[in-house]
Symmetry: C2
DNA sequence: TTGGAATGTCAACAAGGCTGACGTATATTA
DNA sequence: TAATATACGTCAGCCTTGTTGACATTCCAA
């Protein structure tokens, strides 16, 4: 809660001009945000889609294909194309579920972990530089605004790992 | 400058875990950020690329094709495909430069302005809600971190409109 | 046992990136 | 003035990553 006491006083930060600035900040910053991993990826034969898959499999080892579909918000056909190349290249392995044998639980292999490491090192380096330059309280604000910008569904994914449907692994 | 006085004390905000959270926040928030305009666009035959073009032409009326290429960071072939449909549909018009007749200066038509308005209204509404929920100081931090996350080149575009090469219009 | 869920896969398509090559004004410079 | 460089457009072809639709398999649960 942002302090509703100053009604009319400092609502200046809601100016259209300020909002436009925020919009462009998102646009330009997102470019920077993806630039470093993109450079690494284009040397291999991978793209951003592979990065996302690898990231979330690393975050929640043993997650199912269905979970991943929900998080990434793409169709299974699209995800499957990406996963297949990751299987073929030995970066990800799928184990048939013990309880439910229809499910495939996804894990990074050593090779997969090492790619993940390379990608996230690069991305974290930029994030760390930005955090350091901005300072802790700015970071706090950064996270607060981004969180408020998400759809409710995404916010749940972001905050709780996941809660609604199924518990990964 | 973030206050270098607390060395070692509150550097906790630079944790890998915190950075990972920031990374995912960017990912999920960007989805929300583009969701509303995307919904409008898919009803017409346009995509995000059209949105970006329209946005920046609106921001800097009379900007040249070359300027737009720099800002958007795409190839002229890619931009041209988008611009052509915008011309054909009467959303954007190009005027031959007075000083340099090789240049085309881009302007939104009334129709273009009305699409731009619809798109940016939607996007601003979400941004406004996020800003309001987060409060002014969070917004300050949000902008600071995003700015620090940009490449130097993009930061120049973001801050000064543009300075290095050519003055738009 | 039967319906539906979870998954995989084939095929076709579209948007929007990219490269390379070429053409045409127009400007600038030697 | 002639040569070169710039701004822009366009044709052709390629790639990634998204989409829909259809269909098969396996398995859970009522």
């Amino acid at each position: 809660m942002p302090d509703p006491s100053n009604s009319g006083e400092s609502l200046l930060f809601l100016t259209d001009e300020n909002l436009r600035k925020g919009i462009e900040a998102m646009f330009f910053a997102y470019r920077g945000f993806t630039a470093d991993p993109d450079r690494i990826l284009e040397d291999m034969d991978y793209g951003r889609a592979h990065h996302r898959a690898v990231h979330f499999i690393n975050r929640s080892p043993g997650t199912t294909v269905g979970n991943l579909l929900t998080i990434l918000g793409v169709t299974k056909q699209s995800l499957n194309r990406v996963l297949r190349t990751l299987f073929d290249d030995g970066l990800v392995e799928a184990r048939v579920g013990k309880q439910d044998k229809r499910e495939r639980h996804l894990y990074l292999t050593d090779k997969g972990r090492s790619l993940e490491r390379a990608l996230s090192d690069a991305q974290r380096a930029r994030m760390r530089a930005a955090y350091r330059a901005a300072g802790p309280s700015a970071v706090q604000g950064f996270r607060t605004v981004l969180e408020a910008m998400m759809d409710a569904e995404q916010r749940r994914q972001y905050q709780g790992q996941n809660q609604g449907s199924k518990e990964g692994t």
